[in-house]
Symmetry: C2
Subunit: 104 residues, 2 copies
């Protein structure tokens, strides 16, 4: 799995368990692709400080996944829903699978 | 939703975020239906202590759900999968929906 895609999925599932400060920094660097130096200046911390913070957040998101496996469960379900979507001729089942894929 | 069903779902999703001690007590009282007095004797704490512990664990499981909404998301998906299951004639889609319902 692509690193950014994995980070985005983990953040989508477990981000709300982070502090507001952690969320802000993580979004700036990982989601919005600001440089470490830019974020360091904005928050008045060192570039190394931002770097370490991101690494610690990645680790803590990964630990949530090791405990709860929710991303893995969702991906397995998504895969099966996509199969159903490609197999069905029924407009109603098509609509339901599309709704589920939006929820996921 | 039935209280025990709700507790079981929340515990199933977020239980791994509790400490081993919390998990043991919660399972004894909520899942295995031992009395507060029995569990109090077993762990050498007061009956009131067990009662308070269970209340705190319920609260912390509810807080995880308020933040992550994973139980709600899973229930919505389950509901739609059951609709697909009842609508389809295809053996392959039936099999896939049954697999998903087992995963959920």
């Amino acid at each position: 799995m692509d690193k950014l895609y994995e980070q985005t999925l983990l953040y989508d599932f477990y981000g709300e368990l982070l502090t507001d400060h952690q969320k802000q920094i993580y979004e700036e660097v990982v989601m919005n692709d600001y440089s470490l130096s830019e974020v360091a200046r904005e928050y008045d911390i060192s570039r190394q400080g931002v770097h370490d913070l991101i690494r610690r957040i990645d680790k803590s998101l990964e630990e949530y996944e090791e405990k709860l496996h929710l991303v893995r469960r969702f991906l397995e379900i998504k895969n099966k829903i996509e199969k159903i979507h490609s197999l069905t001729d029924s407009p109603e089942i098509t609509r339901l699978t599309e709704e589920i894929l939006e929820d996921l």
